[in-house]
C-alpha cells in the first residue's frame, strides 16, 4: 500500500484540526484543569465531536460505523495530540470500541458497537494493576461461582473511568500471574454492585481513575469470548491502542516542536535571535529528521491495522517505541530551548510534556516496546 494520504484522508485531517483547535484546544484543557472538572472533558464538546461522526470512523459498517478504518482514526488522534484535546477519543473510541470488537461475542458487539459508534455510550479498558504495563501479570481474580463469576482485585490507569458506562475488565480465571493463558475479559457495567470507581489525578489533568472489585458478582453472559482465552484479542487490542497513541504522540511532538521553532525565531539574547545559534539549529534540525521518521512509521503501522498485516505486532511496538523516544526528545528540548519561561505554567510547552509522558506510559513505554520489538525481530 502506498505510504501516502488520500484526498479524503487529507480532508478528514483538516476538519479534525479545525474543530479540535477551536473547541477542544489547550485553552479548554486549562479551563477544565483549573475548574478541577471531575470528568476531565466537556460533554458539550464531546457532542460536537460525535456530530462529526468520528466515534464511528473505525467501526465496521455492519455495526453502525463508517468502516473508514484506523488510518482515518489515527489522523483524528494526531490532531487531538496537536491540540491536547481532552475527549474520550482515546479511552472509548480507540481502546474501548476496539476491545469490544476484538474480544466481544456477536451479541455484545451488536449491543454496544452501534451505540459506541454513535457516541452514546463510553467504554473503557481496565487492565493495568501495577506501576508498569505488564498484561500477563494480571492478578485480579474471577472465580467461577455457580453460573457466573465473582471478581476481586484492583485496576489502575483506567482512562475516563468516571465517564465510562461500561468497562472491559481483564481478569484471571486460571493460571497465575505471569501466564498469558488463563486471562478472561468481562464486560462490566459502571453501576455494578461491588465496583467502586475512584477518581485519580495525574500530571496530564485528564480523566482517569482506579477501580476496586469487592466480590463483584457477574452472570456468565458478561464473559467476552472464551473463558481463559483473552490473550490473542487483548494483544491485538493493545497493538491497535499503541498505534493510536503513537498517532496522538506524533501530533503532540510535532506541535511542541513547532512551538519551539517559533520561539527560536522571536527570542533575542546577546543581541541576536537565538534561532541563529548553530548549537540550537543543529538540535532543531536533528529533531526535524526524527519527526519525519516518526511520521512514516506511524502511517505504516496504521495501514498495517487496516490491511490485516501479519507484521502488526512488530510494527505496533516499532511505532510506539519510536514515538515515545521522539515525543520525549521533542518535549524535553521544547522546555530547554524555551529557557526559564518554559518552566512556567503560563507557557503551553509544560502541558505538552505532561501529556506526553502519560501517553508514552499507557500500554507500554519505550523500554517495554523496544524490548518487544527486538523479541519480535528474532533477537
Amino acid at each position: 500500500m502506498a505510504l501516502v494520504l488520500t484526498e479524503e484522508q487529507v480532508m478528514l485531517k483538516e476538519s479534525a484540526a479545525g474543530l479540535l483547535a477551536e473547541k477542544a484546544g489547550v485553552a479548554q484543557l486549562r479551563a477544565l484543569r483549573d475548574a478541577d472538572d471531575e470528568l476531565g472533558f466537556s460533554r458539550d464538546v464531546w457532542q460536537e465531536v460525535v456530530a462529526m461522526g468520528w466515534p464511528g470512523i473505525a467501526v465496521a459498517e455492519a455495526y453502525g460505523g463508517l468502516g473508514y478504518g484506523y488510518t482515518g482514526l489515527g489522523l483524528v488522534l494526531e490532531q487531538a495530540g496537536r491540540h491536547l484535546s481532552p475527549t474520550p477519543l482515546q479511552a472509548s473510541v480507540l481502546v474501548g470500541a476496539t476491545a469490544i470488537n476484538e474480544l466481544g461475542s456477536e451479541a455484545q458487539k451488536q449491543a454496544l458497537l452501534p451505540a459506541l459508534a454513535a457516541g452514546e455510550v463510553l467504554v473503557s479498558l481496565a487492565l493495568q494493576e501495577g506501576a508498569q504495563h505488564a498484561p500477563e501479570q494480571t492478578a485480579l481474580t474471577a472465580v467461577a461461582d455457580g453460573d457466573g463469576y465473582t471478581l476481586t482485585g484492583n485496576k489502575i490507569l483506567v482512562l475516563d473511568a468516571l465517564a465510562a458506562d461500561h468497562f472491559v475488565v481483564i481478569a484471571r480465571t486460571a493460571g497465575s500471574a505471569g501466564d498469558s493463558e488463563g486471562l478472561t475479559a468481562f464486560l462490566v457495567p459502571a453501576e455494578a454492585k461491588g465496583l467502586t470507581v475512584e477518581r485519580r489525578s495525574m500530571v496530564d489533568s485528564r480523566g482517569v481513575g482506579a477501580l476496586r472489585f469487592d466480590g463483584l458478582r457477574l452472570d456468565a453472559d458478561a464473559v467476552m469470548g472464551e473463558p481463559g482465552q483473552a490473550w490473542a484479542g487483548l494483544s491485538r487490542t493493545l497493538d491497535i491502542a499503541n498505534i493510536g497513541l503513537a498517532s496522538e504522540l506524533l501530533g503532540l511532538a510535532t506541535e511542541a516542536f513547532e512551538l519551539t521553532v517559533a520561539y527560536l525565531k522571536e527570542r533575542k539574547q546577546f543581541g541576536k535571535l537565538i534561532g541563529s545559534f548553530q548549537g540550537l539549529q543543529h538540535r532543531a534540525a536533528e529533531l526535524f529528521a526524527e519527526l519525519e521518521l516518526a511520521r512514516s512509521i506511524v502511517l505504516q503501522a496504521l495501514q498495517a491495522i487496516d490491511a490485516d498485516d501479519p507484521e502488526l505486532p512488530k510494527l505496533a511496538s516499532a511505532a510506539k517505541a519510536k514515538l515515545c523516544e521522539v515525543a520525549q526528545r521533542a518535549t524535553n528540548e521544547g522546555i530547554q530551548m524555551h529557557g526559564g519561561i518554559g518552566m512556567t505554567d503560563e507557557y503551553d510547552i509544560g502541558l505538552f510534556i505532561k501529556r506526553a509522558r502519560v501517553a508514552q506510559h499507557c500500554f507500554g513505554d519505550y523500554n517495554y516496546h523496544l524490548d518487544r520489538f527486538a523479541r519480535l525481530s528474532g533477537f
Binding site: 505510504l3 501516502v4 529528521a289 521518521l293
Partner: protein, 392 residues
C-alpha cells in the same frame, strides 16, 4: 495481450538469449561493477559483451531519449525491464558518473550539440567521466573554489587543483567547476566546463584512504586548454548546475543507509549465540542493535513515503532533506555494530582468515559517507535554514 505485456515477453526472451551466464552472478564487491571507458577495467571478459549488447538497445540507460543513446522507455517499461533483469539476476551492464551525474545535468542544462556529442558515448560505455568539485580549500564551503579559467576567446586556460576527485586516474573526461570571475559574491563567477583528461597539463595522484583503497585522487591543472563549446549553461552560472548535481549525489549516498537482507540482530544471534530465553545475551548490545533496527525501519518507511507522495503528485516533501544526513549516519551506526558483533574477526585487515578484511575496510570507508557530498553538519545547516526557516 496488452502492449506492456508484449514488451515484457519480448524483453524476457531477449534477456534470456543475450545475458551471459557470468553476468547473472551476484556482484560481490565494487570491483565487479563495470565502469567502461577508453581503457576499461575488466574483471570478467563477459562484462564488455553484456554492456555492448545492452547499449545496442539503449538499455544501459533505458529512460534516456533514443536520440542520445538511451532506450526511450517510459516509466512502466523501465519497471518491466528492471523486473525482468531481476528475475534472472542480471547485473547492471554499466555503472558510471556519466549516467548518474553528468547525464542528468546535460539533459537539464546542456545545449543540443553537447547532448549529441557527450550522451551517446556515455550510454555505450566508451567514455568514463569524473567530477572536479572539491579543492584543498573548498570542501564543505565548495563555493570558495579557486581553480581559475582564463578567457582566451574560443577557449579557456585552466590552472588549479582539485581533490577527492573520484577515479580521476581512470577517467577519460572531467566535468569541472572553475572560477571565470572573481568580482562578485563567491556563488557567482563559477562555471561548469567539460574537458578531456588526456589534455596536456592534467595530472592525477591517487589518495590512499584509511580503508586501504584509493578511490579518490588529487588532480592538477597546469595551463590546460578547454574548448568554450564545452561550457555547460551560461558562463558564471555554474553554481546552479553544481547544486542540482549535489542533490543527485546526496540521494545516491543516502541509499547506503538501506537495511541489508539479514537483520543485524539475527546476525548477532548467529555469531554470539542466544541466552536461555532465546535473546541476545548482552542486554546493552541488544538495546543498541534494536535502536539501530528501529531507526533503519523508520528510515526505509520515510524513503517509501517520500517516493509515494511524489508519485501521488504531492511534490518532493521536506522529508527528502534528511536523506543524506540520516542515511549516512545510519550506515555508520550499522558498521560500528558490525565491528562490535564481529569482534576480533571484524578487525582483520588481510588474508583468508579475515575474508580480506572486508568488514573493517567497509567500516573505515563508511566514515567518509557523512563527509563526502556535503557533511552531516552542512546538511543540518540546510535543514535549519531552508526547511525550518531559522535565521542567519
Amino acid at each position: 495481450m496488452s502492449k506492456l505485456e508484449e514488451f515484457r515477453a519480448e524483453t524476457r526472451a531477449w534477456l534470456e538469449e543475450n545475458c551471459p551466464p557470468a553476468m547473472r552472478e551476484p556482484v560481490r564487491s565494487f570491483e565487479d561493477l563495470y565502469m567502461g571507458g577508453r581503457n576499461p577495467e575488466i574483471a570478467h571478459p563477459e562484462q564488455k559483451v553484456w554492456c555492448d549488447r545492452m547499449a545496442a538497445r539503449g538499455w544501459t540507460v533505458p529512460h534516456w531519449p533514443r536520440e542520445y543513446g538511451g532506450g526511450g522507455l517510459d516509466k512502466e517499461e523501465c519497471k518491466v525491464l528492471q523486473q525482468e533483469m531481476a528475475r534472472i539476476n542480471a547485473r547492471r551492464p554499466l555503472d558510471s558518473f556519466g549516467i548518474s551525474m553528468l547525464g542528468p545535468a546535460l539533459l537539464q542544462f546542456g545545449n543540443e550539440e553537447q547532448k549529441l556529442e557527450h550522451l551517446p558515448p556515455i550510454c555505450r560505455g566508451e567514455i568514463r567521466w569524473c567530477q572536479g568539485y572539491s579543492e584543498p580549500n573548498a570542501g564543505s564551503d565548495l563555493a570558495s573554489l579557486q581553480t581559475r579559467a582564463e578567457d582566451q576567446g574560443d577557449h579557456y586556460i585552466i590552472n588549479g587543483q582539485k581533490v577527492w576527485t573520484s577515479y580521476a586516474d581512470k577517467a577519460d573526461w572531467i566535468f569541472c567547476l572553475v572560477r571565470t570571475d572573481n568580482s562578485g559574491s563567491k556563488h557567482e563567477g563559477i562555471s561548469f566546463v567539460l574537458f578531456d583528461m588526456d589534455s596536456p597539463g592534467v595530472s592525477t595522484r591517487p589518495i590512499r584512504l584509511i580503508s586501504g583503497s584509493s578511490p579518490f585522487c588529487e588532480t592538477f591543472f597546469d595551463n590546460v586548454k578547454a574548448d568554450k563549446r564545452n561550457l555547460v549553461g551560461e558562463e558564471g552560472k555554474g553554481w546552479t548546475i553544481a547544486k542540482y548535481l549535489l542533490t543527485h549525489e546526496r540521494e545516491m549516498i543516502s541509499g547506503f543507509g538501506a537495511a541489508p537482507k539479514k537483520s543485524l540482530g539475527e546476525a548477532a544471534l548467529e555469531t554470539l549465540g542466544a541466552d536461555a530465553s532465546g535473546r541476545l545475551g548482552n542486554g546493552i548490545l541488544r538495546h543498541t542493535i534494536a535502536q539501530y533496527q528501529l531507526d533503519a525501519l523508520a528510515f526505509a518507511a520515510t524513503m517509501s513515503r517520500v517516493g509515494d507522495e511524489a508519485k501521488a503528485g504531492q511534490g518532493l516533501g521536506a522529508a527528502s532533506s534528511i536523506f543524506k544526513y540520516y542515511g549516512t549516519e545510519l550506515n555508520k551506526r550499522r558498521n560500528e555494530l558490525n565491528i562490535a558483533i564481529g569482534g576480533e574477526a571484524a578487525l582483520g585487515w588481510e588474508g583468508e582468515a579475515y575474508n580480506g578484511g572486508v568488514t573493517s575496510r567497509d567500516w573505515l570507508r563508511s566514515k567518509g559517507n557523512s563527509i563526502e557530498g556535503g557533511t552531516s553538519e552542512v546538511q543540518l545547516n540546510i535543514i535549519a535554514k531552508r526547511v525550518l526557516g531559522l535565521p542567519d
